[in-house]
C-alpha cells in the first residue's frame, strides 16, 4: 500500500530565481527544523548544460508523535522518542537549456516504518522567453508514503512483492497499522508542504529586492534566530 500527496502550483518568479532559491532555501523562517545542509556531490555536464546535485540535510524530529506511540521501543532505538534527528538525501537535476529542474528527497533512516519520497518538477512555461522572463515557474509536487512495518526484508526497499509473515489476522492487522502510519505521514505532508513553499517565497523575495547580498544577510539572521 502506498499513499500519495500531490499538488501543482505556480511561483510568480522566473525559473532562474526559483532554482537559485531551491539551493538557497535553508535557512529561512519556515525552516527552523533544518539543522544543516551539505553537498555530497555536484556534477556539471557542459554538453547538455545539466547540473546534478546530491545534498544531505539534517532535520529535527524523526517521526510524528502519533507514529511513535504505535511503534515498539526496540525499533526506535535507545535515545529516540520521536523528537530526534533525521537525515534526508536530496538529489536534483537542473537543465538550464530546456528550462526544467527535477528534485527528489527521501529519508535515510526508518524507511521500513515510513518511507517518504518527495519529488518535484519545476518548469518554465512553454511561452517563457528564457530563464529570466517574468512568466513564472510551474511546480508539480508528489509525496509518496510507504510503510513496510512488520515486513521482514534484507533491505528496506528491496521487494514489496514478498508476502508478509503470519496468518490472515496478523497480515490484516499489519496492513492496518501500515495504513495508519501512512495516513499520519500524509497528514503531515499536507501541512508541511505549504510551509516549504512559503520558505521558498521568502528567499525569492529577498533575491528580487536585494539580490544575493540580501539573501545572505537574511540567512545570517535566520541562523542566529534558530
Amino acid at each position: 500500500m502506498v499513499k500519495v500527496y500531490s499538488q501543482n502550483y505556480a511561483y510568480d518568479y522566473p525559473f532562474a530565481t526559483v532554482t537559485l532559491a531551491y539551493f538557497l532555501r535553508y535557512p529561512n523562517p519556515y525552516s527552523r527544523h533544518v539543522l544543516s545542509t551539505d553537498v555530497l556531490d555536484r556534477t556539471f555536464d557542459p554538453a547538455t548544460q545539466r547540473l546534478y546535485t546530491t545534498r544531505l540535510h539534517l532535520k529535527r524530529s524523526r517521526l510524528p508523535a502519533a507514529v511513535v506511540k504505535l511503534l515498539p521501543r526496540s525499533l526506535l532505538g535507545a535515545s529516540a522518542n520521536g523528537d530526534s534527528q533525521a537525515y534526508i538525501l536530496e538529489r536534483s537535476v537542473v537543465d538550464v537549456r530546456e528550462g526544467w529542474m527535477a528534485t527528489e528527497s527521501r529519508n535515510l533512516e526508518l524507511t521500513t516504518v515510513l518511507d517518504v519520497i518527495e519529488r518535484q518538477t519545476y518548469k518554465r512555461p512553454l511561452e517563457a522567453k528564457g530563464n529570466f522572463g517574468d512568466e513564472g515557474t510551474e511546480v508539480a509536487t508528489t509525496v509518496t508514503l510507504h510503510s513496510r512495518l512488520g515486513q521482514r526484508f534484507r533491505r528496506a526497499r528491496e521487494s514489496a512483492a514478498e508476502a508478509p509473515q503470519g496468518n490472515f489476522l496478523a497480515r490484516w492487522s499489519q496492513a492496518s497499522l501500515q495504513s495508519t502510519i501512512e495516513s499520519i505521514g500524509l497528514n503531515r505532508a499536507s501541512k508541511s508542504q505549504p510551509n516549504a513553499m512559503e520558505g521558498m517565497k521568502i528567499v525569492m523575495e529577498r533575491l528580487r529586492h536585494g539580490g544575493m547580498v540580501a539573501v545572505l544577510e537574511g540567512m545570517r539572521k535566520d541562523r542566529e534566530a534558530s
Binding site: A16, T19, L20, F23, L24, Y26, P27, V34, L35, S36, T37, D38, V39, L40, R42, T43, F44, P46, Q49, R50, L51, Y52, T54, L56, L58, Y87, L89, R91, V93, V94, D95, V96, R97, A102, E104, R106, L108, E109, R119, T121, N131, F132, R155, R157, M212, L216, M219, R223
Partner: protein
C-alpha cells in the same frame, strides 16, 4: 549560508558555497558555463565532509541510500521524470 553538519567543515563549505552561487547565477543560469569553476574548493570541502561522515559512523548509511536512489531511478526513467545522472 546553511551550516554543515560538521562545524569543522563550515569554513571550507562557506568558501565553496560562495564560489558555487556566483558560478551558478553568473554563468550556469545564463547558459555560458564551460566548466565547473569551483571544483578545487569543492574537493577541499568534500574531503572534510567525507571524514566527518566517517567519524559520525553514517558514511555507509549515506552511500547505501545513494545507491538505492540510483536504482529506483529506473522507474522514473520509464515515466520520463528524472534523467540519468
Amino acid at each position: 549560508m546553511s551550516a554543515s553538519l560538521a562545524p569543522e567543515c563550515n569554513e571550507s563549505k562557506e568558501r565553496y558555497d560562495t564560489c558555487f552561487l556566483r558560478w551558478y547565477s553568473d554563468k550556469f543560469l545564463r547558459g555560458s558555463a564551460q566548466t565547473n569553476d569551483c571544483d578545487s574548493l569543492f574537493r577541499t570541502y568534500s574531503a572534510c565532509l567525507t571524514r566527518a561522515l566517517k567519524d559520525r559512523g553514517i558514511d555507509n548509511m549515506v552511500q547505501e541510500a545513494r545507491n538505492e536512489a540510483q536504482e529506483t531511478d529506473a522507474e522514473h526513467l520509464v515515466k520520463g521524470r528524472i534523467p540519468p545522472s
